[in-house]
Assembly symmetry: C2
Homo-oligomer: 589 residues x 2
């Protein structure tokens, strides 16, 4: 298909500068071919990269990385930059795909400055680089590259505000405006961007100038020549400036240009049809059952309100389904703080708000969860996806810190369901009760079915699923199935029946039940899907601390794991069934 004539000559940005304009255009075509090569085979971020091919070529043509420093927001659009900075093999050579993280990563290259994966941070990070450069009396260009979807995030707006007055030196903020977040954009600022696009940058209604910033516009955001002219104009500028470029998300693949939301990120796919080439089991999954629940609940209950910070996909809501929800659905854009505080306000006024997003993103609303929701004890339900160690394994997207972060916030009831029946009952209970803020962790494993206690009104009551002796296994949430397997292994190997407990509540302990276990148990085992530090098991260990009961907590270490094999990780931390069986023998001696 392509012999990557130019790409193969690019060992670093200095090689980009050697090419003529026509050659740069051929290079752009080759980069798209390289992107296709990787993305058709292993998937990844599609639209953001296809839209930014020309801009990243022009940036490397005009500026001198790594002396000049690019800070990519989210960095899911940095693939062309990676191809141009010595990492082409991650795209053109299938054997090397795994060497590339999919985000900027200082461990990969001196051209990357931060490991990032959350939105709206680039301007803030860039102001820091600029400030330190100024302290040292140096003069390189600092360039933040941020998409319009990320602009709704408070941190990006804080960054614009600070850049607009506290930095009096070079700082270039490239706003890549493709009129799209993951889903459609939401927020009043997009009217200002539209005015600017339609007036070719001349509208007096200018968000960036309102933050005190200089400003320049370029309509031709996918035209290398125009972009080179533009970037040369602002290179070595002596004050902060916003460079607003208009690009086309997914540029160069009509199927993606026509359906920008679906092609923000892709599974491996067939280039001719756009159809995924891998499929998941036909069986039930938690996402589609959540979608169904939400649509049904909205019909049944006019007070029910879904609020999402730009992550309708976290619960599978398609554009059509969002339209069906109508006024019972609010997308606040990428703005987790707003989403959670808005939910608190809505709950106070009698609505039944459900905030939906991924676990890793909600941490931006830690303060709002604590201060605006939990101090006020407003009945907000926060529903989180990708809660498990075997969900997203990129270091910037881990779900393993949720228990440590939220289960220690007073008043917040954190629920960890173990099966479909329990999950749906928890959702219904949480939305209909008025006494507690609740967080529900969507299980990360396959869908199980069980008959169990579906009454949650007594907070922190654990459920004994099987009563036994000697050893009690407290297996939280989607590790309950592992607890069941361990119980069976104990019966088979050691010939006694351990007690098997489904704690259901991750944010407290059932002191009565734990006390009763002292009668005929010597060892309590906890299993949890997250880091041990600050998590569930430590609470159990602390409770039994002054007693004769032995406790062993199983979970992950406090560490930023990155792109790991999940089962190998469990073995590394010693929590496979054979390892635990060996431990039990030792502890019971």
């Amino acid at each position: 298909m392509n012999n990557y004539r130019y790409i193969k000559t690019i060992n670093g940005p200095e090689d980009v500068k050697k090419l003529s304009l026509d050659q740069l255009k051929d290079l752009a075509d080759e980069i798209r071919e390289a992107l296709f090569n990787r993305l058709t085979k292993i998937g990844g971020h599609f639209g953001p990269n296809f839209g930014m091919v020309e801009a990243e070529i022009a940036l490397h043509y005009v500026f001198s990385s790594p002396k000049d420093k690019f800070v990519f927001d989210v960095s899911h659009q940095s693939y062309p930059h990676k191809i141009l900075t010595g990492r082409r093999n991650g795209y053109i050579d299938d054997a090397h795909f795994q060497e590339d993280s999919g985000y900027t990563n200082p461990d990969e290259s001196e051209h990357d400055f931060f490991n990032v994966g959350h939105t709206s941070t680039s301007i803030s990070l860039a102001t820091g680089l600029a400030k330190a450069r100024d302290l040292k009396g140096d003069h390189e260009n600092i360039i933040a590259i941020i998409g319009d979807g990320s602009l709704s995030g408070g941190e990006a707006l804080e960054g614009l505000n600070v850049a607009g007055s506290e930095i009096q030196s070079n700082l270039i903020i490239v706003v890549n405006d493709n009129e799209q977040s993951i889903a459609e954009v939401h927020g009043g600022l997009y009217k200002s961007l539209k005015d600017l696009r339609e007036s070719h940058g001349t509208s007096a209604n200018n968000l960036f100038k309102a933050f005190g910033l200089d400003y320049i516009y370029e309509e031709r955001g996918n035209d290398i020549a125009a972009l080179i002219t533009l970037f040369k104009k602002v290179k070595d500028i002596d004050h902060p400036i916003v460079v607003h470029i208009h690009t086309c998300k997914g540029k160069g693949y009509k199927i993606a240009e026509d359906n920008k939301e679906a092609w923000h990120w892709c599974l491996p796919f067939d280039r001719a049809t756009g159809k995924p080439t891998i499929s998941f089991g036909e069986g039930e999954d938690y996402t589609s059952m959540t979608t169904d629940y939400i649509l049904d609940k909205a019909q049944r209950d006019p007070d029910f309100l879904v609020i999402t910070p730009a992550m309708p996909g976290s619960v599978g809501l398609s554009p059509d389904q969002r339209a069906r929800l109508g006024k019972q659905y609010v997308d606040v854009g990428i703005a987790e703080e707003q989403a959670v505080a808005m939910a608190s306000g809505a709950a106070k006024r009698g609505a039944k708000p459900l905030v939906v997003t991924n676990t890793t993103f909600i941490q931006r609303a830690y303060d709002q969860i604590s201060h605006d929701v939990c101090i006020n004890n407003n009945p907000v339900t926060i529903l989180l996806n990708y809660t498990s160690f075997d969900g997203l394994t990129d270091v910037t997207h881990l779900g393993i810190f949720g228990l440590a972060a939220y289960a220690n916030v007073p008043n917040l009831v954190v629920l960890a369901p173990t099966c479909k029946e329990e999950y749906l009952a928890m959702l219904e209970w949480s939305l209909d009760q008025q006494d507690h803020p609740v967080m529900i962790l969507i299980p990360g494993d396959e869908v199980h079915h069980r008959q169990t206690n579906l009454n949650f009104s007594q907070i922190n009551t654990f459920q004994v699923e099987e009563a036994g002796e000697k050893v009690a296994i407290i297996a939280l949430g989607d590790f309950y199935a592992r607890g069941e397997a361990l119980s069976q292994a104990i019966k088979k190997t050691y010939g006694f029946t351990p007690t098997l407990i489904n704690p259901r509540f991750a944010s407290g302990i059932d002191e009565d039940l734990l006390t009763s276990l002292k009668q005929n148990h010597q060892l309590v085992i906890t299993l949890e899907d997250g880091i041990l530090s600050g998590g569930f098991g430590e609470k159990v260990a602390s409770f039994y601390g002054p007693t004769d009961m032995k406790v062993k907590n199983y979970g992950l270490a406090k560490s930023f794991y990155d792109r790991y094999d999940p089962e190998a990780l469990l073995k590394k931390v010693g929590m496979t069934t054979p390892q635990i069986l060996a431990d039990i023998k030792k502890y019971l001696q």
Copy 2:
């Protein structure tokens, strides 16, 4: 001085509506007298309340609370509102001062909707009230009241953005512009506010319109008649609007008008001179030693950089001292996310950033601490004030959640100094090393002096300050002095010498040391100044869980305590020395 002729007739907002304009002006005078009565005697927020007397009278005159709903940002400016809503006795009757929390509080009055104390949340909360109102088909006015200082917070900007497009119904955002945060305002948006003030609202450079919002300006923000006219104009409006009023912070007390920063908040004071009527000990304090350290470090090290989200007072930096720091000082405005991410960028570029603020406020940067600083392992130092249970006791300002929140974040080294020598050495070590992000908790107790190990290069090495037997006391940070007292009491009461350990590191455990304690100890006691849940002691309990060592964790319950007596609280949770002595007897049996 004043017989509060009108105030005494005001049992609720309906009584405000009965007064003539002249009477309302007299009422304003009386409210200022009432504020003087409370503030001269017990202190509190001064400038924000004196500046908003007329506006809050006019709001209650025009709108009908609680049907119409006021959401006060931070709510430190809500005293006049409280006086007008049945809570005058908290201001005019000294015996009732303690009945008033100093912030809005739904437990106090149906006219208050949220317990708040952090900034920049009012617009988000109000959008939630508005959304729920719309779902229910109701039509009351929702009014957010936010100061210009709070506008730099990302959540407020997210709120403006969402209000500017996702709410198509009544929402009134009163921006109280007094040209001041606690310190001076920082950020480019203040140029837009200045343009608007100078043009009487007609400037095309309009931040609010750039967020898609309707807008109206009133210069006479301390003129009741003008404000009544203004609020009548927007009452029952069918879409969101920003009502920008220009007020004078501290209005009515020249000393405060002339020194707005010092009079944001006041101690009890003499009205004639403005001088505080209480004084603190003459001895050393951690704040002034921090100020001295910062000024000295800046002189010694050109890479040293202080970054604060509008809280220079957290380390005692006066305007003059900030000027002396020059380019080594950045106030980003109320914008914790920006402060922390900027620090990460600055550290990456070789600066030595020190982020300073209060513990309760840094939780807004939880994501940035984890994602932007700790994943990248950039050597940022975060220095926190009011870390202790006996610092600020308002439920919205507690410092007791810091260990649970941050000490479980991977890579972050959390240091808990026990004395001056250790504190200053930790600061110096942290700023000069390049291997770890560090958080230092400024002790909340009196200044102690000790000779101890000042080498922190081996992370998580605890220091045995006195070796003993049977019982080991691990006393963290500013509870070390309580550990010393406990040790003495054990010697005296039980006749043996316990081991006394200063852990120094709050974010990990010294496994070698803990293992060695097994030789001649039966009980390990942990003492920490914060909630137990997710905290330090639980990590020790988990470590010893499978062993014969007994562990008892002492600390606070996971609870939103409010305006408590600190020593009574310690007794309530069973951690006074006599209580612990009794426990020891029991556990050693």
